[in-house]
C-alpha cells in the first residue's frame, strides 16, 4: 500500500503540494489527473525518495520513505518500477543493457538469467529482437515501451507511470495503455499513473484522483468520475478552456526543473 499523508512541498515561493493525501491499495491502479504544473510528478517522485517532503510523509508498505537509510531506500526502490515521461533511457547503452541495468544491481542473477528476463520483458512490450539497437534509433513510442520493459524487468511490486502517453499519437497511446493493463494482469502490480489523457485514465484505472491546488480535489472510481458534478472535474474531463478558472486557480505551474511537465 502507498500512502500520501498530508504532503507539503514547495520550490522557492511556489507551493506545489498543500496537504496532498491519498491511499493506493494493494493491487489497484490509481490514476492521478490534473492540469499541467499542478505537482502530479512531484507527488510520485516522493514515493521513490527522489524528492523529500517539506512536511507530511509518503509511506510504502508502512515504511516512511524519508526516514529510510540509504540501504533500506535502495531495497525499496528495487521493488518499484518507474516509467519516466520521456523514457529516460541511458543513451550510451543499447536496449539490452538498458533493460538489464536494474537486474545487474541485484548481483544474484547469472548472465543467462538476465538475458532471459530481458527477452521476456521486451516480449511483453512487443519489442522482441531489439536488444542490440541504441535508444537513438527508436521512435518515441518504442522508447517508452523500452522504458516500461526496463521497469518491469525487475519484477516490481509497484509501478509508477509518469505521463506514459504524453506526446504520442492516439494509436501508440492505445498501445501503451494496453501494455499497462497487460503488465498489471501478468505481474499483479499496484500502480499509480499520472496522466492528462482521460481516455487512458478510463482504460487503465480502477480509481481516479484529481490533484488541484496541491491537494486532492476529487477521488472515486472511473465509473464515478464520469458522473462527477464538481465543475473543475467536469471541465477537465470535457477539456473546457475555462476549466481551471472554475476553481479560481491561476495558471502558474511547477517549474519544469522540479520534474513536472
Amino acid at each position: 500500500m502507498i500512502e500520501f499523508r498530508d504532503l507539503y512541498k514547495a520550490f522557492g515561493p511556489k507551493h506545489v503540494l498543500n496537504g496532498f493525501s491519498l491511499d493506493v491499495a494493494d493491487g489497484e491502479t490509481m490514476v492521478i489527473i490534473g492540469f499541467s504544473g499542478t505537482g502530479k510528478s512531484v507527488a510520485i517522485k516522493h514515493v521513490v525518495g527522489l524528492l523529500e517532503p517539506d512536511a507530511g510523509a509518503v509511506a510504502v508498505d508502512g515504511q516512511v520513505v524519508a526516514d529510510l537509510t540509504r540501504e533500506a531506500l535502495a531495497a525499496l526502490r528495487s521493488r518499484i518500477g518507474f516509467v519516466f515521461q520521456f523514457a529516460a533511457l541511458f543513451d550510451s547503452m543499447n536496449i539490452y543493457e538498458n533493460v538489464a541495468f536494474g537486474l545487474r544491481r541485484r548481483r544474484e542473477l547469472a548472465e543467462h538469467d538476465i538475458a532471459e528476463r530481458v527477452e521476456d520483458a521486451l516480449a511483453l512490450v512487443d519489442l522482441p529482437g531489439t536488444q542490440l539497437r541504441m535508444p537513438s534509433e527508436l521512435s518515441g513510442g518504442m522508447r517508452k515501451r523500452v522504458g516500461l520493459a526496463r521497469a518491469i524487468a525487475i519484477q516490481p511490486k509497484y509501478m509508477l507511470y509518469d505521463e506514459p502517453t504524453t506526446g504520442l499519437d492516439p494509436v501508440t497511446s492505445a498501445v501503451i495503455d494496453d501494455l499497462m493493463v497487460r503488465t498489471r494482469e501478468k505481474l499483479g502490480v499496484t500502480s499509480i499513473v499520472i496522466t492528462h489523457d482521460m481516455r487512458s485514465a478510463f482504460k487503465v484505472g480502477d480509481r481516479v484522483a484529481m490533484l488541484y491546488e496541491g491537494r486532492v480535489r476529487w477521488s472515486g472510481t472511473t465509473a464515478e468520475i464520469q458522473a462527477a458534478d464538481d465543475p473543475v472535474v467536469r471541465g477537465f474531463i470535457e477539456g473546457r478552456a475555462d476549466a481551471r478558472a472554475e476553481g479560481g486557480a491561476a495558471d502558474d505551474g511547477v517549474p519544469a526543473e522540479a520534474g513536472e511537465a
Binding site: 517522485k45 535502495a74 515521461q85 529516460a88 541511458f90 541495468f101 544491481r105 519544469a256
Partner: protein, 256 residues
C-alpha cells in the same frame, strides 16, 4: 551596494555548502566499491589514454619554445648548457603540469559536465536512482578517481616529451651539443622536481573532475543549463588550476 555584496556572499556560501555535501556523498559512494571498480578502467581510458595525444602535442611544442627561449635569455658569460637546466626544470615543475591541466580542463572537465548535465536534465540520473544505483558511486567516484590517477601519468609523459623536444630543438637549432644539454639537465636535477609536478597534476585531476561532476549534476534548465554548466566548468577549473599552482608553490617550494 551592501545588499548586493550580502547576496553575493550568501550565494557563494550556499554553493560551498552544496559542494561540501557533494564531497561527503562522494566519499560515501566509495563504500560501494563493487559498482565503481567495474567502471574505473573505462573512465581511466576516456580521461587518461584518450587525452594523451593532445597533451603530448602541447608538451612537444612547449619543449621547443622553451629551448629557444632559454637560449635567447642566456647571453654572454652564462653557459649554454643551462638551456637543458631551464627546459628540464620548467617542463617538470611548471609547464608540464599546468599547460596539460589547462588543456584537459576543456577536454575532460567540459566533457564530464556536459555528459552528466545532459543525464540530469533528461532524467537519466533519476532513472539511475530509481533502479537502486547511487549516482555518486556510479557516476562521480569513477570519474574523480580516474582523473586523480591518470593526470599524473599523462603529465609524466608530457614532461618526458617536452624535455625530448627541447633537447632536439637545442641540439639541432642552437649551438648546444648533446653533452651540454644533458649536463645542464642533470646539473640541478632533484627527484623532488618530478614529485612536485606529479603532486600538482594529481590535485589538478581531482579538482577538474570534481568541478565537472558537481556542476554537471547540479544542471537545471535543459540545453541552456548544460551549456552553462560546461562553460562554468572550464572557467572555474582554469581558475582553480592557477590557484592550486600558487598554493603548491607556497607550500612546497619555500625554503627556510
Amino acid at each position: 551596494m551592501l545588499a548586493a555584496i550580502g547576496r553575493w556572499a550568501a550565494t557563494v556560501l550556499r554553493g560551498l555548502g552544496r559542494l561540501g555535501l557533494f564531497l561527503v556523498d562522494t566519499a560515501r559512494g566509495l563504500a560501494d566499491y563493487r559498482t565503481w571498480t567495474r567502471l574505473l578502467p573505462q573512465q581511466m581510458r576516456r580521461i587518461g589514454v584518450d587525452s594523451l595525444p593532445i597533451s603530448l602535442f602541447i608538451a612537444a611544442f612547449t619543449g621547443i619554445v622553451l629551448a629557444l627561449l632559454a637560449s635567447y635569455v642566456i647571453t654572454g658569460a652564462v653557459p649554454l648548457y643551462l638551456v637543458g637546466t631551464l627546459v628540464g626544470k620548467t617542463m617538470m615543475m611548471e609547464l608540464g603540469p599546468v599547460l596539460t591541466a589547462l588543456a584537459l580542463a576543456g577536454r575532460v572537465g567540459a566533457n564530464i559536465a556536459a555528459e552528466l548535465g545532459t543525464m540530469q536534465v533528461t532524467e537519466q540520473v533519476d532513472a539511475l536512482e530509481t533502479l537502486a544505483y547511487d549516482p555518486y558511486s556510479y557516476l562521480v567516484v569513477p570519474r574523480m578517481l580516474a582523473g586523480t590517477i591518470m593526470f599524473p601519468i599523462i603529465v609524466a609523459f608530457a614532461m618526458g616529451t617536452g624535455v625530448l623536444t627541447g633537447y632536439l630543438a637545442a641540439t639541432t637549432l642552437l649551438p648546444v651539443t648533446s653533452d651540454q644539454f644533458l649536463h645542464g639537465l642533470r646539473l640541478f636535477f632533484e627527484p623532488f622536481d618530478i614529485q612536485y609536478g606529479l603532486i600538482k597534476a594529481a590535485s589538478f585531476g581531482f579538482t577538474i573532475t570534481l568541478i565537472g561532476s558537481f556542476l554537471g549534476l547540479s544542471t537545471r534548465g535543459g540545453a541552456e543549463g548544460v551549456g552553462s554548466a560546461t562553460t562554468r566548468t572550464v572557467v572555474y577549473s582554469a581558475g582553480m588550476i592557477l590557484v592550486l599552482d600558487a598554493y603548491w608553490a607556497v607550500t612546497l617550494l619555500r625554503h627556510g
